[in-house]
Symmetry: C2
Subunit: 286 residues, 2 copies
């Protein structure tokens, strides 16, 4: 296989070159898809909103009965050690915590911790200028508040997304909208209210930041979003760490609003870019 970069990977106690980063086949991720992870962005040595991502990582681990082998301060130091060693200006770090080398291939053992760093590219101008088309699928994740590694449904739907010439798939169940496999969703109503689903969603860090930013300008709500509300929305957009904000202009073939990215979505994207700049000033690692 190709390794996109010559980066180092942190595996348990070691920094190893990417090509040597492996886990024994008895690991519970390979045996039973059991593990949690998290992912955050790096630019010029700064990890954006790192405390939020680390908090969520420990919370995911706790929900899934896995113990992160280091206290938070040590893990944070490891993150900055990796950033320094790899020296990748525009990148992302993924932290995976698996169920460990299980003796019986079922019950969790001492977890394995893997940190990888990869180059990262933001969504292109095309997506921001024209917005994206999405489809929907009836589903809700098993442990929505935990960022588990279980993407069986999301990955299986890749073919359906491709066939529909869509960019992503949104989960709904009995007409109640929740989330994308890897992103949160927001709608903007006719009276400029910004709403994001409260239940059956991962508590995205970008979602939290957008709620904070939107709250300065618009009425906001974490509540119920129905398929009907979604289709009648003036604007729809998704949020994620990698994508920030991407306008959604078509759902299951139906146009949203004017069919073009709306002013609320684009102004919140500007605000988010400013917030990132502020975070790198205030929270620079000493």
């Amino acid at each position: 296989m190709d390794y996109p970069n010559r980066s180092y990977v942190f595996v348990n106690d070691d920094m190893v070159p990417m090509e040597k980063a492996s886990l024994h086949v008895s690991d519970l991720s390979i045996q039973r898809g059991y593990g949690v992870f998290d992912f955050f962005k790096i630019r010029d040595g700064h990890a954006f909103f790192l405390d939020d991502y680390l908090d969520r990582f420990y919370r995911s681990a706790e929900i899934m009965h896995l113990k992160v082998p280091f206290p938070l301060a040590n893990l944070k130091a490891i993150v900055y050690r990796l950033i320094k060693k790899n020296n990748l200006p525009e990148s992302g770090i993924k932290m995976i915590l698996t169920g460990g080398y299980s003796a019986d291939g079922y019950h969790p053992a001492s977890p394995n911790l893997v940190l990888t760093q990869h180059s990262l590219s933001l969504p292109g101008r095309e997506q921001l200028e024209h917005g994206i088309k999405i489809i929907t699928h009836a589903y809700a994740r098993d442990f929505p508040q935990a960022k588990t590694i279980n993407y069986t449904m999301g990955i299986w739907l890749s073919n359906k997304i491709k066939e529909s010439q869509a960019a992503d798939v949104l989960y709904q169940q009995q007409g109640i909208v929740s989330e994308f496999p890897r992103c949160n969703i927001f709608i903007v109503t006719d009276d400029n209210k910004v709403i994001t689903p409260a239940d059956n969603v991962l508590h995205g860090v970008t979602r939290k930041n957008i709620m904070k930013l939107a709250g300065k300008k618009y009425p906001t709500e974490e509540g119920t979003v129905t398929m009907d509300q979604l289709l009648r929305a003036r604007e729809v957009f998704l949020t994620s760490t990698t994508k920030r904000i991407v306008p959604v202009v078509q759902v299951d073939g139906a146009l949203i609003g004017t069919g073009k990215p709306g002013p609320v979505s684009l102004s919140l994207l500007d605000d988010l870019v400013s917030l990132e700049a502020e975070d790198s000033r205030i929270n620079a690692f000493p």
Copy 2:
């Protein structure tokens, strides 16, 4: 970690010693819990009902859009090569097919195939003489017909099973019973009808064999089993490759029938043992 035996593992094209069997961290099982597997029993060089297990393995792979890198005949030859090399008299072979080394950590690549062989012990006399207690949980697997590696819910429930001093957990949804994380379920009604759930279940090879054997003596049905039918059943038992038949005598604290393993369960277990003996006579590898 401890390796229970010094066996060899087949990884893609190689036979490697157990301690060297690993996958790179970019594998989609580690990244996203994406893969399928299957498992069958070996005794004295014979793989029981091998064709059924291989068929299901290819079917699982197809459902999950993964391609087994060998045609069936070649995979069968690899299985027998591994059996010969390891020479473990009472054992099981697990075949895992993952989403492969994914360039973007999300979309499947060329799958990795891993075959491991482990010593195996059948359920003890205790379980057969006294039966087991089980609990239930509201859940249905995402792709019930595929044997995916996604056991997130099953493993998460291990704590709940332990707290309840139960032996296993049975999935039901809105009062309709489906399966255990790793076993199928059967009930025997007051008029000696043997019923197993038709929907939302893995098509177990032992389940199929038991249906065939039960059909010679009793009326049988693949149909709907409600929680109410389960609790009013004269006998309840589970089936699996490893466990064959284990009588269930308590569900969520309520006694089943007399609270002791019943004659239908035990006679079908005898029949299954005979069928295994027949299979090793008829289907011995040339």
